[in-house]
Subunit: 282 residues, 2 copies
């Protein structure tokens, strides 16, 4: 066990265990809370891991409560990890006006370089390096078989983390992701605030820019509701479609008629995504 | 439409519509909020209705968020109705000490006779009479095909409402119900507080007492976690088992190893219950 993990709660569900855990993070310099579902499994088995990154305003709890992933994970034998979306607690700076789209609940999966955010807002480090060590050390996880997904800001996180770490994730998907933060108000505010005005530093955190810069994934599954109020201004799914087409990168991008941006949308397609990941995780 | 219904929210989910609605209740003299999931269906179709009554501290939102019922309801063609657990708002008296197990969030599905609760705490009337009219008038509901279920205090509600209204519900189930409120602290506090000290008035609100008094259901499905911290003191599942055995009433009462009292338990067995109801609702 690489570091101390406090168990906040465990509940048996769908034959497995839904747990919530807390630890002191060296990446963020704060306590961090995350959830892990471990499906029923044979003693000594090592199971593939799905990372689910959440959207603006969320903690681990939103998808843990509303994601409807446990039945499919139990059937498919997948561990499901849901981290928080930002550092929190004493001394962690927030948006100066307390806005929902920056600061607490809105870490955008970056390593901030700008003050006062640079010390604690290191969600890239946390998700890419620290939390995988903890998951590997404390759960029956086969780290050679990882998939990643996420919702909205978390879809942005899933796409960019996977694109930056070729080969680490055998499968990548997203629900209603922000595909080009450099080209939408949410992303411009976040990347400007955390990274500063030099847009060359933003490219690592923009899925479309990464693909345009040569990063590739073997394939991709995206579901996007066509009644999503954020589609035109913030999510801009078509930019990802164009980037993948230009790059010759396989991508299944499905527009789902009548669906909005909420968990009733995410939960509808969750089992589909998990099956898609499981096929690729063996 | 028998009365005005305000739509609080609708979200497409699993091919149907998850809605939340508010109306002025004549039964409780307050605004009441409830949720309804209508699955995908042919134009003009009338669908069977499942009533889900929630437990202590809950509103409609707990099961709506965490119940994992929409996929099964969509597959089985069931409307799912989730009422609140008490009147709320200006002038509605609460537990004098603000306890979680009486007053707001803890209506126990009774018509209160004691002051200051008698005016607003009329959840029996609300669930048995008023809300069915609203559901029948506003949704594609076949009121000849109704089933009822609930969790904990709501399991008590489901059992007692069904037992008191023979023939109305073709199917009755419960998750971790309070089976004999007259014999447990939660129930004694609630029935004493709402109905007074004359225990003869409690019998209508006690599933075991109703069965002992001659009420019958064709059958019954109960799931109860054996790791439920409330089992021994409050829920007392064995009393229902004994009452059904003495009465010769069919009842499938399943002890589920390792499960507790939470929604991770309820959601695990939700689809099972919905299938069981659907078989009986045709």
């Amino acid at each position: 066990m690489p570091m101390t993990l406090d168990t906040v709660s465990t509940n048996k569900s769908h034959g497995g265990v839904q747990g919530v855990y807390r630890h002191q993070s060296r990446a963020t310099g704060t306590d961090m809370t995350f959830s892990v579902f471990v499906p029923p499994h044979a003693d000594g088995a090592k199971l593939p891991v799905i990372w689910y990154l959440s959207g603006l305003t969320c903690t681990h709890a939103n998808v843990t409560d509303k994601g409807e992933f446990r039945k499919a994970c139990a059937e498919l034998g997948l561990i499901f990890v849901a981290p928080d979306t930002s550092p929190r607690g004493e001394g962690v700076p927030d948006d100066p006006e307390g806005a929902y789209d920056f600061g607490l609940g809105a870490g955008f999966y970056v390593n901030a370089t700008q003050e006062p955010f640079a010390r604690h807002y290191r969600m890239r480090d946390y998700i890419e390096n620290e939390l995988p060590e903890i998951v590997a050390g404390n759960f029956p996880a086969d780290m050679a078989r990882q998939g990643i997904t996420g919702h909205s800001m978390g879809g942005h996180g899933a796409l960019t983390i996977s694109l930056r770490n070729p080969g680490r994730f055998r499968s990548t998907s997203a629900f209603a992701p922000i595909v080009a933060p450099a080209q939408c108000p949410w992303g411009q505010k976040a990347l400007g605030g955390y990274l500063g005005d030099d847009r060359s530093t933003w490219k690592d955190y923009d899925a479309c820019a990464l693909i345009e810069g040569g990063a590739r994934l073997p394939d991709l599954l995206i579901d996007q509701g066509d009644a999503d109020a954020n589609l035109e201004l913030q999510l801009k799914t078509d930019l990802l479609r164009q980037a993948c087409a230009s790059a010759g990168m396989a991508a299944t991008i499905r527009m789902q008629p009548g669906y909005d941006h909420s968990y009733p949308f995410v939960s509808t397609f969750m089992a589909d995504h998990l099956r898609w990941h499981a096929e690729r995780l063996g």
